[in-house]
């Protein structure tokens, strides 16, 4: 590129302005990336939800239970392959801030329905035989420094008077995908059922079923809800992704919030970079006029301005992504338990870079067009 030296020489003409512009671009991109990561964290459950899985909850609400007897009835419906059930345990490990999700699981069927959670067979077999056993996700185990064989005390006040439940950590699970949820803690339904008040006994918080084929989902869901209609425990059956989306919405309309803030960031970036380029072009009116006079075409003038704004955006973008790459794991660790794990994927980094380049080009467009349309005679007269 023959004009490379001119582009870079112009960039470094006002060093303080360049640094401030790149800095504001980088900070804005950190914010934008953080928002995208949070959005991705909330929608990850929806993305990784099995297409062939349905979730049954009590029609009144998620905190209402259903009889455990529904298990066999649901299993008998054609198209249903496996059924398992969960309960929300909701205990506290040491302090309130040490939040992590604890589920009461059905050890007989859990692995069949959730093959993406990987537990070594020997650990799983120990867990199945140990009624006080528990399995922790790798992230949670790492967070608290747990290892297999540890005794984990968890205080619970949801089911009767406050009581500390003690569990043997029999295993640690991982997920096949690195961005999978490795923060859960599982305990056995039998243990739970024996230790909760009578009103909770023989109940399930929700059922998860695996279908023979995702094509059956509508029919099976309708059949289940019809089957339990007008009973004391009416059901609401939906796909796992719909359930995950509904769960995420409990936090508010995250996607809308992020889209709104993201749009503000986007337009701020456009204005900051566009303003820098507009001032820069205005300062160089006579130089651009001379370039045109000596035969530089209008298109090349536009290219020079766009190249400059794009390089600013590229530097700002790279710096912003670098900062985000360094900061997001720290933020993620700080908000563990409050938010799903925040992961900055390579795809997101690439999208961030594309976004930066796009903003750079768009912000240079107006000043570039005005430079392109500038009449040499008028511009030279202004000198």
């Amino acid at each position: 590129m023959k004009f490379r030296s001119l582009i870079f020489a112009n960039l470094f003409r006002k060093k303080v302005r360049l640094i401030l512009t790149i800095g504001s671009f980088a900070i804005a991109l950190v914010l934008f990336t953080f928002l995208a990561v949070v959005n991705s964290a909330f929608s990850r459950g929806i993305d990784i939800a099995g297409a062939d899985r349905l979730v049954i909850v009590n029609r009144i609400g998620l905190i209402q239970t259903m009889p455990i007897s529904y298990d066999d009835q649901v299993r008998a419906i054609p198209g249903v392959k496996y059924v398992t059930h969960d309960h929300w345990f909701g205990g506290v490990y040491q302090e309130e801030k040490n939040f992590f999700p604890q589920f009461v699981i059905d050890v007989e069927n859990h692995r069949k329905v959730y093959p993406e959670f990987i537990v070594p067979d020997d650990q799983w077999n120990t867990f199945v035989k140990d009624q006080q056993g528990a399995i922790a996700g790798a992230t949670t185990a790492k967070r608290f420094g747990w290892k297999v064989g540890d005794r984990i005390p968890i205080k619970n006040s949801l089911y009767g008077p406050t009581k500390t439940w003690e569990f043997n950590l029999d295993g640690i699970y991982h997920t096949a995908k690195p961005d999978g949820d490795q923060g859960q803690f599982w305990l056995q339904w039998k243990n739970f059922d024996e230790n909760v008040p009578a009103v909770i006994k023989s109940t399930a918080g929700w059922y998860i079923l695996k279908l023979d084929s995702p094509d059956d989902s509508v029919r099976v869901a309708k059949t289940i809800d019809a089957k339990f209609a007008n009973s004391s425990y009416e059901t609401k059956t939906e796909t796992e992704s719909a359930f995950a989306a509904g769960f995420a919405k409990q936090f508010g309309n995250i996607e809308f919030l992020i889209l709104t803030i993201g749009s503000v960031v986007f337009f701020t970036l456009l204005l900051v970079t566009g303003n820098t380029m507009a001032i820069s072009v205005r300062e160089r009116t006579s130089e651009l006029a001379v370039l045109k006079a000596i035969g530089v075409t209008d298109r090349t003038i536009l290219f020079l301005v766009l190249a400059e704004s794009t390089v600013i955006a590229l530097f700002g973008g790279l710096l912003g992504l670098l900062l985000a790459w360094a900061a997001i794991p720290v933020i993620s660790a700080a908000v563990t338990g409050l938010l799903p794990p925040l992961l900055l994927s390579k795809t997101m980094l690439s999208l961030g870079l594309v976004f930066a380049i796009f903003v750079g080009m768009v912000s240079g467009l107006l000043p570039g067009i005005s430079a392109m349309r500038m009449r040499v005679v008028n511009a030279l007269r202004r000198v």
Partner: protein, 247 residues
């Protein structure tokens, strides 16, 4: 021979016929140039003098293809430029015109070498060829030892020399100088004029120059006087002139 009567042989390097330039300001129509004729041969050195607003710079802009006339035609080396499209005119300027401005108009963030190289970036010359041309041009203006200096590190006279090097580096058909010594002291102005004279005498360049300075204008082969858009006088200094004013 320089003629202003429109009766040239048709073999002149630059032929101007019935050149008129009119601007509209508000409801008023201002005629800056009125049916002007001019014939300039290769190797001529023409000075244009006249009071402010007489149309000197407008004439220079029209001859350089920076502006388009309201009427009339300009033919340079056989090419009629008055009806060229904007992009064609840009290409034509790159090939045929070398501009020398009063305020030098160098790019401050580029070195003397890089400034002189600019017109060559529009050509297909290789980097090595461009370097050779730039060094030759800087040698002509006596600044080859300052090629890595930035404009701020040069005196006014040296800056104008770099501008001249930039104007001649692509070997254009003619040079247009708009007050080339207007921002210089007398000594530097003399040096610049000597350089322009050398370009005409030793390198066969054709130069058209606008100036307010009678001493500078006297260095040209011929000085033409413009007043209110009309060539009212032609004084013979070096070569023959056929005077005629408005045809």
């Amino acid at each position: 021979m320089i003629r202003v009567d429109g009766q040239g042989s048709g073999k002149s390097l630059i032929q101007v016929r019935g050149l008129t330039k009119t601007y509209r300001r508000g409801g008023e129509e201002i005629q800056v140039l009125q049916r002007l004729n001019l014939d300039v041969d290769k190797g001529d050195f023409v000075g244009f003098m006249g009071p402010s607003g007489s149309g000197k710079t407008t004439l220079l802009n029209l001859l350089g293809g920076l502006d388009v006339p309201s009427q009339g035609s300009i033919t340079v080396d056989g090419d009629e430029i008055t009806h060229m499209s904007g992009s064609k005119l840009t290409q034509w300027r790159a090939r045929h015109v070398g501009f020398i401005f009063q305020m030098y108009n160098l790019i401050p963030v580029l070195t003397a070498f890089q400034n002189v190289e600019l017109p060559l970036l529009l050509t297909k010359l290789s980097k090595a060829e461009r370097r050779k041309h730039v060094e030759t041009a800087l040698n002509v203006v006596g600044l080859v030892n300052r090629m890595d200096h930035y404009p701020r590190q040069l005196s006014g006279g040296q800056e104008q020399r770099v501008t001249i090097a930039r104007a001649i580096v692509s070997d254009p058909t003619f040079l247009l100088c708009d007050e080339p010594t207007g921002d210089l002291d007398r000594k530097s102005a003399d040096e610049i004029m000597a350089l322009i004279e050398e370009l005409v005498a030793n390198h066969g360049k054709t130069v058209l120059m606008v100036t307010h300075d009678a001493v500078v204008a006297a260095r040209a082969h011929t000085t033409l006087h413009l007043d209110k858009g009309v060539l009212v006088e032609a004084s013979k200094l070096g070569q023959g002139v056929v005077a005629g004013g408005v045809a």
